[in-house]
């Protein structure tokens, strides 16, 4: 059973002459534990696709299943860890309390919450910032808190929408390494939206290339580089070949 199964899905926003066909005939099947990246020009419907999978929007056509369930059922059983394009931290909560939020709602004990939050903050290198408020952090630090929050309750499917977009190159690469470590350890399914070709290639087993208007999948590039991937991977010939392949796939449909 695949972790995510998307069949003939389309999404139209609005109606009449002002309507936007955001997605058209999307077919995609993701195996359990797979790391898949979505890449494509701005406005091609990457965030929309992620929202459809996460049951934040209904599709206008086609069907989606998540581990055999409807997206709605999957959401209610808390299968999703979502990282949005904006960090969306609650201003009135400390960093630690923000990370604890999902656990709190799921009824975890105070001890368990504290322990998990500490662990997650260490993971995103913010161990010393638990007592700070979000406005005391930089944009990139806020985004790392959002990642810690999404991981805190060990969801089986991670939906990440440009989570590293606000980070500088060095932090970004460090976070990529970190994300791969977490993924290799837990073998969760990840759908990762990015604008960066090297990032998509470095992280994922498959890179899904999309085109605009209407949003469609134009190519799926298999990235058969071995894991664990590290600094050597980034300098590998095969890495560059894959980057070129994805770039050309993106260009074809300009």
């Amino acid at each position: 059973m695949s972790a995510v199964d998307i069949r003939g899905v389309s999404k139209v926003f609005g109606s009449g002459p002002g309507q936007v066909e955001a997605l058209k005939d999307i077919d995609l099947s993701i195996e359990s534990g797979q790391f898949v990246s979505l890449i494509g020009p701005s406005g091609c419907g990457k965030s929309t696709l992620l929202r459809l999978v996460g049951d934040l929007l209904p599709p206008t056509g086609g069907s989606l299943t998540v581990a055999g369930k409807t997206p709605h059922e999957a959401r209610l059983s808390r299968d999703y860890g979502m990282v949005f394009q904006q960090a969306t931290l609650l201003d009135w909560r400390s960093v630690r309390a923000n990370v604890e939020l999902p656990l709190e709602i799921m009824g975890a004990s105070a001890d368990e919450r504290t322990a998990r939050a500490e662990e997650m903050l260490e993971l995103v290198q913010l161990g010393d910032f638990g007592g700070h408020y979000p406005w005391q952090l930089s944009g990139g630090m806020q985004q790392r808190v959002a990642i810690a929050r999404a991981l805190s309750f060990k969801p089986s499917l991670l939906l990440m929408d440009e989570p590293f977009g606000a980070l500088d190159e060095m932090t970004r690469e460090a976070m990529q390494d970190e994300l791969l470590r977490i993924w290799e350890r837990s073998k969760r399914t990840v759908i990762f939206v990015t604008h960066s070709i090297p990032e998509a290639v470095f992280l994922s087993q498959r890179t899904v290339v999309m085109s605009r208007r209407p949003g469609r999948i134009t190519r799926i590039v298999d990235i058969d580089l071995p894991y664990p991937r590290d600094e050597d991977t980034r300098e590998d010939r095969r890495f560059y070949d894959k980057v070129t392949e994805v770039r050309e796939a993106l260009r074809e449909h300009e």
Partner: protein, 286 residues
């Protein structure tokens, strides 16, 4: 990680001592220091006032001197304080009632969209009605010397801004935050408790600050239409009518202190309730 956040001491030490809820001696001194200009200005105004009256030899029944007002204030202290005690009870009772009903109405309005469409435009319109004009009617209803009569007028004045602002705070929530709560399948009760209510607090408090000032003004002006002998509004109209301006000013001083004290209490309450809030972390805290 290559960019260790703590390796940049300048950036982060700027926060030290200004973290919500902590007041170090230096932070306290900084806070006090920002009142210095206001105090200096107030003092200068008094000095100029005094000089103008003396130099131009203005008659006391037209404009009293600050020194004159001060000595009258001391003479009349018991009387004006007793009057102030009546007024402050009216203001506080009205403020409490108006706030409680305002919040209850806001919760109901935010909860049921139908109510919102029906009630909110009405409330916004009612907010611009001169509610003080109702004071004579309230006096007839509750009795001229009843504290309830003035408190009723004050509560109606307070009700509308509190209700309108609280409705906005409960409903104008960042869609991203609602999406986040939806993603973790938070039940509606949790969304209210963990997102809507904290989001509404700054809106509520900014209304409450306005309401605090309005409450004292409302009580005093309502007393202008008649009330207890020992009440600020009544006392001011009586003394001013007899050209005893220094006496009237003494009562105005008490009224000002009441207004400032209630407003200050709301500020303290706000800081206590929202240690995170934006207005508490601006540069003037440094």
């Amino acid at each position: 990680m290559t960019t260790e956040p703590h390796s940049d001491p300048d950036v982060y030490s700027a926060f030290e001592g200004d973290l919500p809820g902590t007041v170090t001696p230096s932070a306290l001194r900084r806070r006090l220091r920002r009142y210095v200009p206001a105090l200096v200005l107030a003092f200068l105004v008094l000095v100029v006032w005094e000089l103008v009256v003396r130099v131009f030899d203005i008659e006391e029944f037209i404009l009293a001197k600050p020194t004159e007002i001060y000595s009258t204030f001391l003479d009349e202290f018991d009387t004006v304080v007793e009057a102030g005690w009546t007024t402050v009870r009216e203001a506080l009772l009205g403020l409490a009632l108006g706030t409680v009903f305002g919040v209850l109405a806001a919760v109901a309005t935010a909860r049921w969209a139908g109510l919102r469409e029906g009630l909110l435009p009405f409330a916004v319109a009612a907010n611009s009605i001169p509610i003080l004009a109702l004071a004579p009617i309230a006096n007839q209803w509750f009795g001229l010397t009843s504290i309830t009569a003035k408190a009723a007028v004050v509560s109606v004045i307070v009700f509308f801004p509190v209700m309108i602002n609280t409705v906005r705070g409960l409903t104008e929530v960042d869609p991203g935050e609602l999406e986040l709560m939806r993603a973790i399948a938070a039940p509606p009760r949790e969304v209210v408790r963990r997102v809507r209510i904290p989001n509404a607090l700054p809106y509520f408090f900014s209304a409450l600050k306005v309401a605090a000032a309005l409450a004292v003004i409302g009580a005093i002006v309502a007393e202008y239409f008649g009330g207890r002998t020992a009440s600020l509004g009544f006392y001011i109209t009586q003394q001013a009518g007899a050209f005893k301006f220094a006496e009237a000013w003494s009562a105005i001083i008490v009224g000002s202190f009441l207004g400032i004290a209630i407003y200050g209490s709301v500020l303290l309450l706000e800081r206590w309730a929202m240690p995170w809030h934006v207005s508490l972390r601006t540069a003037d805290d440094r």
